[in-house]
């Protein structure tokens, strides 16, 4: 378990390197989400996105990236919303240990 000072005031991890699957479980639990295979697939996809583009995605690019990497069935807002209710880009990035998406409106 990471202490409170590892997170910013909105609960985003301050340092990428502090992330681990256990930390993801911790953040998800705080958000009321039990992670299953489908969640993990998106979490690792988000981390790949960050490695490739040095930024966390907004919703639109996340949907397109999912479609390109995981196929059209998963490249849909509804699918992502079912896994990460409310704001999938924001919530997914948070659990994936990424900085808060800057253009997530």
């Amino acid at each position: 378990m990471l202490g409170a000072d590892a997170f910013d005031t909105e609960g985003f991890l301050r340092h990428l390197k502090d992330w681990s699957p256990a930390v993801a479980e911790q953040i998800a639990s705080d958000e009321g989400i039990a992670l299953d295979e489908a969640h993990w697939e998106i979490i690792y996809l988000l981390r790949d996105y960050y490695t490739e583009f040095d930024s966390s995605p907004a919703m639109r690019p996340l949907v397109k990236y999912c479609a390109a990497k995981l196929g059209a069935d998963k490249g849909k807002s509804m699918y992502l919303l079912s896994l990460f209710p409310g704001s999938p880009a924001r919530l997914g990035s948070k659990i994936a240990g990424l900085p808060k998406p800057e253009n997530c409106l």
Binding site: D54, P57, R60, P61, E102
Partner: protein, 131 residues
């Protein structure tokens, strides 16, 4: 940003936005501001056209290693523009020559423009933001 309002036509068509970025990617926050504005506009369904002018063309150098200066790679963020549906990218031909970058690989959507082409871009949009 001034008090920009959508076109007074009342139609659903969004205003055509042109962002002019004239700064190199590092050393000041201007290039980053231009990029952040572009991504934010895209999130509002107003994907802007981007004009890389003057020192702005230096933002397009491939293989930028942000980690060497503990910063994010401006070039990598630019790589995400197609995912934001930003696919109108214009590059100043004279600036490429000035920096000896005329053979540099450019983003797939990029079009190299001369002075006349730049004038046409400025005339062909509703709002222009300069960085």
């Amino acid at each position: 940003m001034a008090s920009d309002t959508p076109k007074a036509s009342g139609q659903a068509e969004p205003p055509r936005l042109l962002l002019v970025t004239r700064s190199p990617p590092y050393g000041s926050s201007l290039a980053r501001s231009a990029l952040d504005t572009a991504l934010a506009a895209a999130a509002f369904d107003m994907a802007p056209a981007l004009l890389f002018l003057d020192h702005g063309v230096l933002q397009l150098l491939p293989q930028q290693e942000g980690a060497a200066s503990e910063t994010r790679s401006h070039g990598k963020v630019l790589d995400s523009l197609p995912l934001y549906d930003i696919d109108r990218i214009y590059v100043d031909a004279a600036a490429l020559l000035h920096f000896g970058l005329q053979d540099m690989p450019l983003p797939a959507a990029a079009e190299v423009v001369d002075s006349t082409g730049i004038r046409a871009l400025l005339e062909g949009c509703d709002h222009i933001l300069s960085f």
